[in-house]
Symmetry: C2
Subunit: 484 residues, 2 copies
């Protein structure tokens, strides 16, 4: 049949990825304790399912404030600049006691609370609402420990860091260009940059052996960047950038400050753009120090340094689709703002998040400590469960996942065997992502997401155990089922 | 200075349009009766500012339902399938009496009302939430008078029709390809398809004289499509599609059924994709019959026919960024769903709109009649005001704007003189769009948006009057001011 699509349309339509296949199967048959207990457990998508109660309470409150009579006082949004302690001051202590109207310390006027001012329902500043950018700048300045306040004019708001990565690589790189990225890396990045902008990753392989006598397993070092750079040049690939995810996905580790600075200096030598995705910056759960790019006194190449952060991970709100780009490069911002028509996010959503960011009291004493405590707990349950069935994991400090070593469960040390194991897992109704999705250089590693209830994790571990002992299965029947 | 951007990034960053310039100036200095009465009045953006009160009440109610105690009954969302009269049954009568809790006829369970089920806060079906697609299909079936129910699987949800047009043209056309579009046409279309996908409009000029002895001024006919097609072919442009906006923007007219069918058959002969943007389908205010593509018993080429509709215009909710594509072409849908990662809209927003669409009682007895009555009223005030200062307008039946004839106010019949007049209008703090933004073939036409309060329209008319009598001004000072 004659194709109706353009060549790029056909390329986009034909794209299939393992992760997407798993997610599509999950969407059709999602696990639900009450309604679908035999459905697929999703330990594949990096989403935080641990804080719905806290979020629902806070967000419903937000939306309902403007309906409330003025005589009602609500749990207060702390006024700008006042009573803002560092989030670290509160440690891991959790204060779960709901502070209802009776305990309120401040009142919210209708004007502050109303999420539905007319402007929000109509076209607005494509860079992002000014108030939202101001609040984001203020928030990042504090939580990233920036030596000087971030400028709200340097921030562009888009509908998620997915879009931000796609738009950024498009305006920075030509079709066919490449960017360095330490591997394993979050596979979505390659998809987003290729589907949209036709640019490609140039993996910088990290392996599980400790490199040249220093550091820790899977650590990045500049010599590895140099090797990958010269390798790419030999192949005729023009490398235009370096993408770092810090905290790392899927490894769950944070980059030491000196490694980050080494990378920035390396990039400066080669005139590479650096995109640092800090989307997990508040999801550090074992007390490890996180170093933001914003914390450096000066940058080797500020015009080529671009930092992403969003609400999907740290605020467990992936469904709201909000990401931000911070860049001092005016031309890059100008191009991003032009593209923002295609990646815009709703006015009321930006307003809601403005209020959430303003509420430092809620962030510091309720959300963050609860979230960290629950992440730690769920992680411990998963790690213990996996250990009990003979699976060890890399020591992680951040994120919603562990990098699990299932090498000894492969029939042979190959990526085909890894896929066979993946199909066995899906057959047992547990969706996790195989290392090849992350361009792992060693077969047999899997990323297992743990930010789920303890109950679900236990069910998942049982299913993983069953899958590990199961014989090879014929994947085709699933592929057909899926395609039909 | 060495450019840091890719060539496409530089192309995107360098883009300037008159409409964008006006909007950017407006965003920096928006008119506000209380706070900024000397600010710019925005009669340039096609947004409906007439229904904030109705929308705010309805949406706040939605968000607050889940906080309400079960003992409270609210104005009900009519259950699926019951009590759904045709919207035309209600005529233009307005029922503005608020039906508060005391007058409620049905109760909403927490499960129905809750906008914050956990799924909505996390990654969801990229095609659009199933429930939202079902409700949209149901809604379009009814309001477009489709002979058979639309299939929710044929719908893809994106963050606005802007994104939908951009994504559609990308997957249907190669860079450099063209699409036919009757001109004048909404200039944003050219921007969106070019910025994103590098495809270009091939204008099909309509002029204000009645074509070949039949029809009405600025009417489309197949001979004009044929002329433009052969002209483009001579120039070596490969034409891959036809884009129609119905009701028309900026003319505010609706296409007769037979003209639409002629166009579809023309496109079928040339194997062109047809994209029909029906985003103003419910904003028809003078009783004129609107014909949706969905109403045809059969289509000449269903695999190449794609229909857009969204919430920005008909529900006056441009700030929510929600558009839908209906296409029976599976490959096109597949490609759109892949691109949807970049054009996704928030789960809670989809949920909110699902409830809005379900509430046929509110749509038919409150929203639509009030909206039509207010549009008619504002239009009458503007048309009268313009007539009083010697400006006539094309007779329109739909949309938020009139196509105003300012030809006699130009120093000379040229597009330079049109721009001079535009600068004089901006100088008097009123932003409307000159015909060149819409690729008008005659200088001196302007699109004036009237969907604003009567009070603002009167201020705007005074400012327009002042601008029309003013001498030429030096535009550069504004350009510099704007660029600084």
């Amino acid at each position: 049949m004659e194709s109706n699509l353009s060549s790029r349309g056909a390329r986009i339509a034909a794209y299939r990825g393992v992760h997407r296949t798993g997610f599509d199967m999950y969407i059709k048959d999602p696990f639900n304790k009450e309604n679908n207990p035999q459905g697929i457990l999703n330990f594949g998508n990096s989403e935080n399912k641990l804080c719905y109660d806290i979020l629902e309470e806070r967000i419903q409150l937000e939306y309902c404030l403007s309906k409330a009579s003025d005589s009602l006082a609500f749990r207060g949004v702390v006024a700008r600049g006042s009573s803002r302690g560092s989030p670290r001051d509160h440690g891991e202590e959790e204060r779960m006691n709901s502070t209802g109207p009776a305990q309120a310390t401040s009142k919210l006027s209708r004007a502050q609370a109303n999420c539905l001012t007319p402007e929000l329902l109509q076209y607005s500043d494509l860079q992002g609402l000014r108030g939202f950018r101001e609040e984001t700048a203020d928030f990042l300045t504090e939580y990233c420990r920036a030596p000087t306040p971030l400028n709200p004019e340097h921030i562009v708001v888009l509908n998620g860091c997915t879009s931000a990565l796609a738009a950024l690589t498009t305006v920075l790189m030509e079709p066919g260009d490449g960017y360095l990225i330490p591997s394993p890396y979050y596979g979505g990045i390659a998809t987003y940059t290729w589907l949209y902008g036709e640019v490609n990753p140039v993996p910088v392989p990290l392996d599980s052996k400790i490199s040249r006598g220093k550091g820790y397993p899977l650590m990045l070092a500049v010599d590895k960047l140099e090797d990958a750079m010269s390798e790419a040049t030999k192949k005729g690939i023009r490398v235009r950038g370096l993408i770092l995810t810090n905290p790392h996905n899927p490894l769950g580790v944070v980059y030491p400050a000196e490694v980050l600075m080494d990378c920035l200096e390396f990039a400066h030598r080669y005139k590479l753009h650096v995109i640092v995705d800090e989307i997990y910056m508040l999801s550090v759960y074992d007390g490890k120090a996180f170093t933001s790019i914003h914390s450096f006194e000066s940058l080797p190449d500020p015009e080529r340094t671009h930092v992403l952060w969003g609400f999907s991970k740290d605020f467990a709100l992936a469904g709201l689709r909000v990401g931000t780009v911070h860049t001092r490069n005016q031309e890059v911002r100008r191009a991003l703002i032009r593209l923002a028509s295609f990646h815009s996010c709703a006015g009321p959503t930006q307003q809601l998040l403005t209020h959430l960011l303003q509420d430092r009291d809620w962030i510091n004493t309720t959300f963050l400590p609860s979230n960290r405590r629950r992440l730690l707990e769920s992680r411990a349950i998963l790690v213990k469960g996996l250990q009990d069935i003979g699976v060890s994991v890399l020591k992680s400090s951040a994120g919603f996942f562990v990098w699990a070593d299932l090498r000894s469960f492969l029939k042979e040390q190959s990526f085909e065997a890894e896929m066979d194991l993946w199909w066995r897992l899906i057959h047992e109704k547990v969706f996790i992502s195989p290392g090849q999705v992350f361009s792992s250089c060693e077969p047999g590693w899997f990323r297992v997401v743990f930010s789920d209830t303890v109950e679900n994790i236990k069910i998942g571990v049982d299913r993983i155990k069953k899958a590990l002992g199961a014989p090879a299965i014929i994947a085709e029947k699933y592929v057909h089922h899926h395609a039909s």
